[in-house]
Structures are given as structure tokens and as C-alpha cells.
């Protein structure tokens, strides 16, 4: 029995004036790209955990040495290689220095090198990649060839060569990373810009009279920001790793300035007897790298437009 056969009241068939404007009401609340990304990121518990750990470690790096009576150089030869205690939460090393303070001063160094060693190359990469992508033609070709050639050789070799020349120390390392680390970002930024240039909204803007600066800042950069932010975040664990690696083989941060890698290096010589001296800095390196990786992964997922519903 279909409802077409039911008897209906007369006024059911009276005309209704429909305005099409009503039908164009979008029932789902609109949400900007960034707000949506932030919402998705905050929902990602694992990524938030990573962020929390990063913040905790940063806080400890800044404040822990301040509240301790020991410095990272003060030696106490009567009290060497002590196990963790209330006096020395991480124990002491072979020179009697308090490891708690050394670890957190080292944290300052490792984190600073890690963060700046990722941000600065990232910025260089945006500029060079942007220029290359935007102007295209010969400029693009030269820059890309240069990157192609230089990237054939492992980064580490260049870094080692550069540090031989400009010395070691946190600033030198950051410079070395900056000189060698921008190429990957430059390539991806250039790729994105090339893609965006082809898209119609750029053509549309141009037709409406937008200037190059306008195009760059209002359209191209916001769209590449996602990639760059993720790339910089993921660059931090990579920079921390490189610093640790260099310091571990004796080429990075030199004593007495501590860094996690260097502490690991010192720890390994007494590893069999006092394993905590290696395991503590090692654990911190790993946890920090892990946290940045988790947060970076979450960030990447949040900014991925394809996952946006």
C-alpha cells in the first residue's frame, strides 16, 4: 500500500514558495584548515604525550641545574663513580662530578643544537626552495643540480669536514648542520611550489591582479607551511642524533662542556662496571628523539589535507 493512495487533507497540496537560499544553507559547521588540524592533533593522545615529554625535559633542562648546588665542572675526587643517591640523583662520574647537573646542562646543549640545528636549515631550505620553485628556469636548474651533486655524499662526511675546520662547540655544530641540512627541505618546498603554481587558484589570483609578493605570502607560503613545520619537527631528532653520533666518536662537543652524546661517550668506557653512566644519557637521547618523532608524526597526520573530512 503506497502512500500515494492515501486520502489526504486538501491543504496538503497548497503551494509553498521555496526560496533557494534556504537550500544553500550548509548544515555542517564550516571549520578552517588550521582549526581542524589543531583539533585533530589534540585528539591524538600519543602525539600529545610526546609533546608533554618534550616540555618536561625542556623544563628540567632549564631549571634543574639552577636549583642544584653542584656545577657541571666541580670535581670531588673522593666521591667518584657513586651510584644514584639523594645527594646525587644520577650518581657521579669518574671525576666525581655530579651527573644530574651534567645531564641537564648537557640537555641544554643537545636540545639547543637539536632545535636550532633543525630550524635554521629549515628556514634556509624554505628560502632557497622557494626561490628555486617560484622563479623556475635557469635558476631552478642550477640550484637543483647543485643539490643533486652535493647530496650524493653522506651528510655526516661534510659535517665532519666542516667541524674540523671551524672547530667544535654548540654554535659550530649548529653552523655545520645549517650548511648541510637545508637541502632536503629545499627540495620538498620547491616541489610543493611547483605543484601549487600549476593550480588554478594561483592563475585566478594573478588574473585578479595579485603581485608576486602577494602571491608568495598569501598563497604559496601558507600552503607550504604544513610541510615545513613537519619537516622541522622531524629534523630535531635527526639533529640530536647527529650531535650524539659525533660526540660519541669524539668529534662533537668536547669536554668540559657536556652534551648527551659526550656523556654517553664517557659512559661507555666504564660501561661494564658502572652501566648507569651510559644508560642514563642514552635513555634521555632515546626518549627525546622518540617524543619528537611521535609529536612530528601526529603533526603530519593533522596537517594532511587528505585526511581532512
Amino acid at each position: 500500500m503506497s502512500n500515494m493512495q492515501i486520502e489526504l487533507p486538501k491543504d496538503a497540496f497548497s503551494r509553498v514558495n521555496t526560496s533557494s537560499k534556504e537550500s544553500e544553507l550548509i548544515t555542517r559547521p564550516g571549520i578552517t584548515f588550521w582549526a581542524d588540524a589543531r583539533r585533530r592533533l589534540m585528539k591524538n593522545k600519543v602525539a600529545m604525550l610526546g609533546l608533554a615529554i618534550i616540555i618536561i625535559i625542556t623544563m628540567l633542562a632549564i631549571f634543574a641545574p639552577v636549583f642544584s648546588e653542584y656545577t657541571y665542572t666541580k670535581q670531588d675526587l673522593a666521591n667518584t663513580n657513586a651510584p644514584p643517591s639523594r645527594e646525587h640523583p644520577f650518581g657521579t662520574d669518574s671525576h666525581g662530578r655530579d651527573l644530574w647537573v651534567r645531564v641537564w646542562v648537557g640537555a641544554r646543549v643537545s636540545l639547543a643544537v637539536g632545535i636550532f640545528g633543525s630550524i635554521i636549515p629549515g628556514l634556509i631550505g624554505i628560502v632557497i626552495g622557494g626561490i628555486s620553485g617560484y622563479f623556475g628556469g635557469k635558476v631552478d636548474m642550477i640550484i637543483m643540480r647543485f643539490i643533486d651533486i652535493v647530496m650524493c655524499v653522506p651528510n655526516m662526511i661534510y659535517i665532519i669536514l666542516i667541524t674540523i675546520y671551524i672547530g667544535t662547540g654548540p654554535a659550530a655544530l649548529v653552523v655545520a648542520f645549517a650548511l648541510t641540512g637545508w637541502m632536503g627541505t629545499a627540495r620538498s618546498v620547491r616541489g610543493m611550489i611547483l605543484q601549487l603554481k600549476e593550480q588554478e587558484f594561483v592563475l585566478a589570483s594573478r588574473t585578479l591582479g595579485a603581485s608576486p609578493a602577494n602571491l608568495i605570502f598569501q598563497h604559496l607560503i601558507p600552503n607550504t607551511l604544513g610541510i615545513v613545520v613537519v619537516s622541522m619537527t622531524m629534523g630535531v631528532p635527526s639533529a640530536i642524533f647527529q650531535e650524539a653520533f659525533l660526540s660519541f666518536i669524539g668529534l662533537g662537543i668536547q669536554p668540559p662542556v657536556p652534551s648527551w652524546g659526550q656523556l654517553a661517550n664517557l659512559g661507555i668506557s666504564v660501561f661494564r662496571i658502572y652501566p648507569s653512566q651510559l644508560l642514563i644519557p642514552a635513555a634521555l637521547i632515546s626518549i627525546t628523539m622518540l617524543s619528537f618523532n611521535l609529536f612530528g608524526d601526529g603533526l603530519r597526520d593533522a596537517l594532511d589535507p587528505k585526511l581532512r573530512m
Partner: protein
């Protein structure tokens, strides 16, 4: 009555997304007779692709979810078939070609092999035999130099050629029914005509039933014997091609026909004002009501059932109610060349 190859009854299908349930298909009923071409027409998002992909169970569940309804293939109830059972039907009994020939073929596998593997899956013949049949089929769909083309990769062909390869792949096992999901949308006009002609020709030769999904009425005019018009997840009108073109009963169908540009006339282009409803919260009455010129109070309250008003011509509209005012809906009167519309049964 002719044998029905495919019958869909009251299909309800939704997608579960983070923002809620999207009611993509809201009670669709269709059928396809043996040897005929049914065209399913509608705007983007009306649910035509989802309905047909459901027949072949190609939609991942989750996030898709079959909420109700039945699907019959040659009389057999395949609604709850498992993926394994469907694999026996796909390619052999029913096959599908898709919209974008650029991305629908595996870029790292030679096309001959892509076609042959379909044969080898369903029939117990030797590789050499499969290869022969493939080469034959390639020739049939109009690929020049089929022997050489067997070894080529998709990127070595043009868009139109790739679509021909897709057709060859779909028809090589002689399925009873072919689903073509917007087969010509990504092609230029001349190639479009060629591909449609090829489909018609092969259909005659092999006796395949065809379902063409499209938003382009020109495509419909060239190929369809019967037409189903869909809007917002429901079928609003279905009938034989002549009836739909010349005597549409649903305001939406009429609107679509009116907005078809007719070559050489100076008439202004009309379009249906407004946009289709959001399927997160489908309206309670007729979904077309907000955009309908003839909207009545009842239309906003209750969804009209789909009823048969004349031979094979069914409509879902309150205008069909005996108590409703009578309107003459404009259809294609004389501007379409009568020969272009296929004669249905």
C-alpha cells in the same frame, strides 16, 4: 516479462564518518533487463556510484555500512555474499569500468598481462590461450597492432586507448552485465563518442547488459534504453528513454532536461537554482522540495513513494497523487534529434 539480470530492492547504505553518518543511499530500487542498457543519471553526490559499487561490494566496510535492502543477480540473492563469493562473480559474471583511465591501470604491469590475469583467474586455460584471447580482444576494442600492444605499459597509451583497454579487460570473460561508472567523463568529446559507440557495438555482439552511470544527458541519449534518475540518494524517476525525455513527470528530471544546452539555439541557459541537500541530515520530506517550482505543503512533510504511473514509468512525486494539481512538465520536445534516442522496448 523479460529476464531481470539485476534487481536492487530498497537499498540503504551509509558511511560512518567522524562527523556522523552520511546517508548515501536512502532506499533505492532498480532493475536491469537482460541485454538492455540502463543509464543512471544524477548530480555528483546523488549516490549513483555508491549504489552500483554496492552490487559488486567494492566499498570497504568500514566506513561503509549496508543498512538494509536486497540485491539479486539473475534471481539469486547476493546481498550477504562474502568477499570470497563475490570474487567468483567479479570479472566473470559482472564487471566494471571506471572514470579515470589514467589511474585505473597498474602503471608497472604490461597491459596484456593485466587483461590475461583476469581470464586465468576464472577459466582453466593455458597461459598461451589466455594470451591469444587477450590479443583478440584488444583487436576487437580497436587497439591497433594488438600483438605489440600486449607488451606495452599503460603510460604508452593515450586516454582513449586506455579506456579501450579497460573495456577489453572488463569484457574479455564475457560477463552478463557491465557497469560503466562515468566512462567518458575524463575524455574529450570525440573520444567520448567513440567509446560509447564501442560499448554499444560490443553490447550487441556479446549480449551484455550495461549500466551506465553518468551526469551527462548527452551520454544518456546516445546509449540508454531505460533511464533511472537519482537525487540525494533516492531514485526519483525511472522509465524508458523516450518517456523520460519527452514526458518527464518529476520536476527534477524536467529541470535537468531544460538545462541541457541545445545546439544552435539562442535560448538562455536555465539551471536549477540551489544545491543538493547535505546527506548528514537528510530532509524529512521530499529531498528536492527546497528547489522545486511546484513544491506543496505535503512535499515538505512526507517523502513520496515511487509508484508506476504508466508502462514501466515510475515516479516519486506528490504531483502524481490523484488529489494534486495537474501540471505539464516541460521535456525535450523537438530539439533533440529523435534518432539519437534509442528505441526501448
Amino acid at each position: 516479462m523479460r529476464e531481470r539480470i539485476l534487481e536492487i530492492k530498497d537499498l540503504f547504505f551509509s558511511f560512518d564518518t567522524y562527523a556522523g553518518e552520511v546517508h548515501a543511499v536512502r532506499g533505492v530500487s532498480l532493475y536491469v533487463n537482460k541485454g538492455e542498457t540502463l543509464a543512471i543519471v544524477g548530480e555528483s553526490g546523488c549516490g549513483k556510484s555508491v549504489t552500483i559499487q554496492n552490487v559488486m561490494k567494492l566499498i570497504p566496510t568500514p566506513p561503509g555500512r549496508l543498512k538494509g535492502g536486497k540485491i539479486y543477480y539473475c534471481g539469486e540473492d547476493i546481498t550477504n555474499y562474502t568477499q570470497k563469493q563475490m570474487q567468483k562473480l567479479r570479472g566473470k559474471e559482472m564487471s566494471m569500468i571506471f572514470q579515470d583511465p589514467m589511474t585505473s591501470l597498474n602503471p608497472t604491469m604490461r597491459i596484456g598481462r593485466q587483461i590475461a590475469e583476469g581470464i586465468l583467474k576464472h577459466e582453466k586455460i593455458s597461459r598461451a590461450e589466455a594470451k591469444d584471447r587477450t590479443i583478440q580482444m584488444l583487436g576487437k576494442v580497436g587497439i591497433s597492432n594488438p600483438e605489440k600492444s600486449y607488451k606495452r605499459y599503460p603510460h604508452q597509451f593515450s586516454g582513449g586507448m586506455r579506456q579501450r583497454v579497460m573495456i577489453a579487460m572488463a569484457l574479455v570473460c564475457n560477463p552478463k552485465i557491465l557497469f560503466a561508472d562515468e566512462p567518458t567523463t575524463a575524455l574529450d568529446v570525440t573520444t567520448q563518442a567513440q567509446i560509447l559507440e564501442l560499448i554499444n557495438q560490443l553490447k550487441e555482439e556479446l549480449g551484455t547488459s550495461v549500466v551506465i552511470i553518468t551526469h551527462d544527458l548527452g551520454v544518456v541519449a546516445r546509449t540508454a534504453e531505460r533511464i533511472a534518475v537519482m537525487y540525494a540518494g533516492k531514485v526519483v524517476e525511472t522509465g524508458i528513454a523516450r518517456d523520460i525525455f519527452y514526458n518527464p513527470k518529476h520536476p527534477y528530471t524536467s529541470g535537468l532536461l531544460e538545462s541541457m544546452p541545445s545546439g544552435g539555439s539562442s535560448k538562455t541557459l536555465t539551471s536549477i537554482p540551489g544545491i543538493p541537500p547535505d546527506l548528514f541530515a537528510p530532509p524529512k520530506g521530499c529531498s528536492f522540495a527546497p528547489r522545486c517550482k511546484y513544491c506543496m505543503k505535503i512535499c515538505q512533510e512526507i517523502m513520496p513513494d515511487l509508484i508506476e504511473v504508466e508502462n514501466q514509468h515510475s515516479v516519486s512525486c506528490w504531483l502524481m497523487h490523484p488529489q494534486a494539481p495537474k501540471h505539464e512538465l516541460p521535456g525535450r520536445k523537438s530539439r533533440v534529434n529523435a534518432q539519437n534516442i534509442r528505441e526501448g522496448v
